[in-house]
Amino acid sequence: MSGPTPKDFIAGMDSNARKSPTRVVFVTRRTSAQVKVTAEDQVQTYPELLFRAVVAIEVLAIALVSMALLFNAPLEGIADPSHTPNPAKAPWYFLGLQEMLHYFPPVVAGVLVPGLVVMALIVIPYFNINVEAEGLFLKDRERRVLIFYVVTAALCLFLLLFDVYVALVPALIVAGFMALAAQSSPQSASAFRRGLAAKPLSFWIMTWFLFELTVLTAVGTFFRGPGWSWVLPWRS
């Protein structure tokens, strides 16, 4: 089928039923179904997708092989329980955790926070609010802005209490964008602000999490030296 066909609804694979409701067809007895579906363009998985996938994996392999040829994996002295290197660092993906352990008691940073994060990740799809994918401040604006300010202030206070400036900075930046989003409307002239206004709560939480994760991991990896004190990576 080529060329646009005027129609009201599209029976598609889209999952957002509110946005594109599926047409319901009543089929009477002894009448064969006559459903006109404008299906989306599809191609054969083999070879179209597989070829691309293979090329993607090959490109990845090229990158990794070059890296393996250029840089040797680290290997230090034999494990010696009597000599602790300073600093003793966990694998990089745990350095965000280790950085938090520097501020919070182990139960909080090592168990509570990661546990909550994993729980949050698991429940995200089942969380009603996310399904709507509506801009956070589009509805019930005053109340939500109030809640936002209270929550942000509480979080900042909490971080300040533990002197976690490393986590405070990303939190404040994200909060700043959220404040901007609260002031933006979908009719805004700026595309950026239109975009901000349309972001749902889940987006903001995830962005905050991503930002914190990146900053904490980067700090733990590059900016921490002996005694978990600040160092500059370029001044080894």
Partner: protein, 262 residues
């Protein structure tokens, strides 16, 4: 010459033996192409068709594919490495050195394994965030998202257990620091720590446990979950395509008869 090879391929795909093994014969018709997917034990996890606009790079960044790629590289480099590795103290360290210095290309394989492991952790994270920002976790895909979270944890565990195996200072202290986090869990933390290390400190027991987890249990669990993950993509209606994205343009972008089938 080139032609002969092509013919030979076609002939090969037409033979009874080929057909008995792969069930799909030669030919480039849509049916044959569909059969090529359906009748292959690995490929049948995919649907036979995919929405055209999902082929575009920006749709997925191919992050899931790339993650699978790192996993394949890790398996194919990890198995050879096992041939030269004894999970015992202090032999493990000497073996790692031997891999670096005397085993032919051992250093290369170890490097590739190590960097791929890091890449996999990174790609899994990236994949997760990409999926989230595209909203691809929404019903009916919510359970596949949960499987994805489980796979993230498995990936972290795989990487973490592998970290100890060289038995060097880096490994030992990273695992010591990491395992002490586990013992912070109230009530059962110490039990978990004890069970995980097979003792109170990181020693030969811990090495053996981590080895078994790293080489045996976790990869099998990972493969199982990856299979479910892929299968669920098909069952949940293929790769998620957001309605707000342009489709007509994407639809035109791929020539229908793009790829000649060898």
């Amino acid at each position: 010459m080139a032609k002969t090879i092509t013919n030979y391929f076609d002939e090969l795909r037409g033979t009874r033996v080929w057909r008995s093994v792969f069930r799909s014969g030669s030919g480039s018709s849509t049916l044959h192409r569909a059969l090529a997917i359906q009748q292959n034990v690995f490929l049948h996890l995919f649907s036979t068709k995919v929405r055209t606009r999902m082929l575009s790079f920006s749709a997925t960044w191919y992050l899931g594919t790339l993650t699978l790629g790192t996993f394949l590289i890790l398996v194919s480099t990890g198995i050879p490495l096992m041939f030269y590795y004894h999970p015992s103290v202090p032999q493990a360290y000497a073996d790692t050195k031997d891999l670096q210095f005397v085993v032919s290309s051992g250093l290369f394989l170890r490097n590739l394994h190590r960097w791929s492991a890091h890449a996999m952790v990174f790609l899994v994270f990236a994949h997760m965030f990409k999926v989230f920002y595209r909203g691809a976790y929404r019903p009916p895909r919510e359970f596949n998202w949960v499987i994805g979270v489980v796979l993230l944890l498995i990936t972290l565990l795989l990487s973490y257990t592998g970290y100890l195996l060289p038995w060097d200072q880096l490994a030992f202290w990273a695992i010591t620091v990491g395992s002490n986090i586990a013992s912070a869990v109230p009530v059962m933390g110490n039990k978990v720590h004890f069970l995980m290390l097979g003792g109170n400190v990181v020693n030969a027991n811990a090495l053996l446990r981590f080895y078994v987890l790293h080489c045996m249990i976790l990869p099998l669990v990972a493969i199982l979950f990856v299979a479910i993950h892929f299968w669920r993509i098909r069952k949940d209606g293929g790769l998620y395509a957001h309605q707000s994205e342009p489709r007509t343009v994407a639809a035109r972008s791929v020539p229908a008869k793009g790829v000649p089938v060898p």
